[in-house]
């Protein structure tokens, strides 16, 4: 009890900057306004996209212009000459394409929220116990955890930014700075990551876009041929110049989009992500015993699950209001593991205290809503800092940590760079 009171008093004195903040803050803010990832939000948090959206606007323009020209210049002729079903089908395809594109681009791909400070501290403590030593002040070695899923050993990696062990099939997108569940790739054409929650919309988009592209291409050619039967080829081109533009756009798009649809059909039927396929995680080349533990065995089930399975709701609660007593995820630290900066344990050495207080100042400056209530600061005090003597945590399920070496870091950075590479690869196929 004495410890408790002593700590409370020192907390108030060590954070004089908090009270002015608390008094000035009037309106409650929504959680999307303080979202730590590199995302853009629109419509008060309803729409969520990546930071670079230039290519997405290009996609929109290409689709709208090509379809618009088709409806304006080719459809009147074709509806009269052949059947009015042509513009009708084109219309349905167009709405489906736009609907799925907007759904893919605007929805949450399955972002995992970052760990709260308590969780991060707890994990750090367990890892320190597992590692045995608490190594100075430099960045600890990369951490992994091994799990056996369906007979295959899967390595779960620790994300230094989000301070969590990534679930299987999740990956950290370096462009959006978020961990995404069942991460497929970051697609600049839709301006968003493609992950667990929007993969089916993405697939429907490229599938319907391939149909639309092929449809427009076929009927533009038909239109020109029919006209040239009447007036000659060059005159036909002069009469409907838009058809030339449409034909060119469709011709160049068809190869990449149809190719991409085919590739994703293969991925869905084998229940793999683009990420896994590129890395060759489940390919036979790695070993005879290597197989995909997530596959359901047959193509039909895999497809049904991917396209018609249950959709999990968004975990990041963009439009919720920030509660003053809920812990917000702290800004990513430089690798110094200790949370509990407001601990006033006199047993800590001066150097540690200096580091802690500096870190606390930086954190407080970065996240003004954090720790604005005295009740919260008193809560922090009671949280454990250094591992106590009485916390036995079984370390048997932790993988033996690999010694810090370049290959680990290289692998981590390669994984981060992958999303960028994958998007260019995917679009160029």
């Amino acid at each position: 009890m004495k410890d408790c009171e002593y700590s409370q008093i020192s907390t108030h004195s060590s954070s004089p900057m908090e009270s002015p903040h608390k008094k000035k803050k009037i309106a409650a803010r929504r959680k999307w306004e303080v979202f730590p990832g590199r995302n853009k939000f629109f419509c008060n948090g309803r729409i969520m996209m990546a930071r670079q959206t230039g290519v997405f606007y290009l996609t929109l323009v290409l689709i709208l212009v090509t379809s618009g020209l088709f409806f304006a210049f080719d459809c009147p002729y074709l509806a009269v000459k052949i059947t009015p079903a042509i513009p009708a089908v084109a219309g349905i395809l167009f709405f489906f394409v736009m609907g799925t594109l907007l759904r893919t681009s605007f929805s949450d791909p399955g972002v995992l929220p970052r760990a709260t400070p308590d969780e991060a501290a707890d994990l750090e403590r367990q890892i320190d116990i597992a590692n045995g030593t608490s190594s100075g002040g430099y960045r600890p070695p990369p951490r992994t955890k091994e799990v056996i899923i369906n007979g295959q050993t899967v390595k779960l990696k620790y994300c230094f930014t989000c301070k969590i062990f990534r679930p299987p099939r999740a990956s950290h997108c370096s462009l959006c700075d978020n961990c995404v569940e069942r991460f497929d790739h970051h697609c600049p054409w839709v301006g968003n990551c493609v992950g667990k929650r929007n993969y089916r919309f993405f697939y429907m988009f490229i599938l319907s876009l391939s149909f639309l592209t092929v449809f427009i291409f076929a009927f533009v050619i038909t239109h020109v041929i029919l006209r040239s039967q009447q007036t000659g080829f060059l005159n036909a081109l002069k009469d409907s110049p838009a058809s030339v533009l449409e034909a060119v756009v469709c011709f160049f798009s068809v190869w990449s989009i149809v190719g991409l649809s085919g590739f994703h059909t293969y991925l869905i039927s084998s229940n793999q992500t683009t990420n896994e396929d590129i890395k060759g995680s489940w390919s036979n080349k790695r070993g005879k015993e290597n197989y995909n533990p997530y596959s359901y065995g047959n193509i039909f089930t895999n497809c049904c699950v991917a396209l018609c399975g249950p959709i999990s709701p968004s975990l990041i609660d963009r439009r919720g209001y920030i509660q003053p007593d809920t812990p917000q995820p702290a800004a990513p630290s430089s690798g110094i593991t200790m949370y509990g900066a407001t601990q006033s344990q006199s047993d800590m050495c001066d150097q540690d205290q200096c580091i802690q207080s500096t870190k606390f100042v930086l954190q407080a400056a970065a996240t003004p809503l954090l720790q604005s209530e005295p009740s919260l600061t008193s809560d922090e005090l009671h949280l454990p800092g250094k591992p106590g003597l009485g916390t036995p945590t079984p370390a048997s399920h932790w993988a033996r940590p690999r010694p810090p070496s370049m290959p680990n870091l290289a692998e981590a950075t390669l994984a981060d760079v992958m999303p960028g590479k994958m998007s260019t690869w995917a679009t160029s196929s």
């Binding site: 009890m1 759904r103 969780e119 569940e181 997530y294 018609c308 399975g309 249950p310 344990q345 591992p387």
Partner: protein
Amino acid sequence: MATEVHNLQELRRSASLATKVFIQRDYSDGTICQFQTKFPPELDSRIERQLFEETVKTLNGFYAEAEKIGGSSYLEGCLACATAYFIFLCMETHYEKVLKKISRYIQEQNEKIFAPRGLLLTDPVERGMRVIEISIYEDRCSSGSSSSGSSSGSGSSSGGGGGAGAR
């Protein structure tokens, strides 16, 4: 065990947070949402093992129901696709319905079982489905010798970590 009975509001106001225990996800069955049923040692003196395991198993059952792949989920998926997913503006998904059931269950468990023992479960959905967070509360003004003994005991083992480490 605590000799005093708490309700939730009283707990939050009068008790001080001693420590938090995190039940991590169990990925041995794949990516479905399951939590480890391993009993954390910090709860040893606070709650019976069986009650705890039962709560976690029930939660796991709920999540399995939410993510169940079968006829009804396929029907929902196909219907949604056919309406270009506009149907989600009017109707909530099966998953969301089960999540509401889960939060009601957790509220009930907190009121009946956990709060009287000075514990509080946080709905995993508020922690990104990563962990079940169990907050362990200590009474600030505990008069009984047994409860103050247990509070100082658990305080030194978990709360006063730095001091204990230095000793």
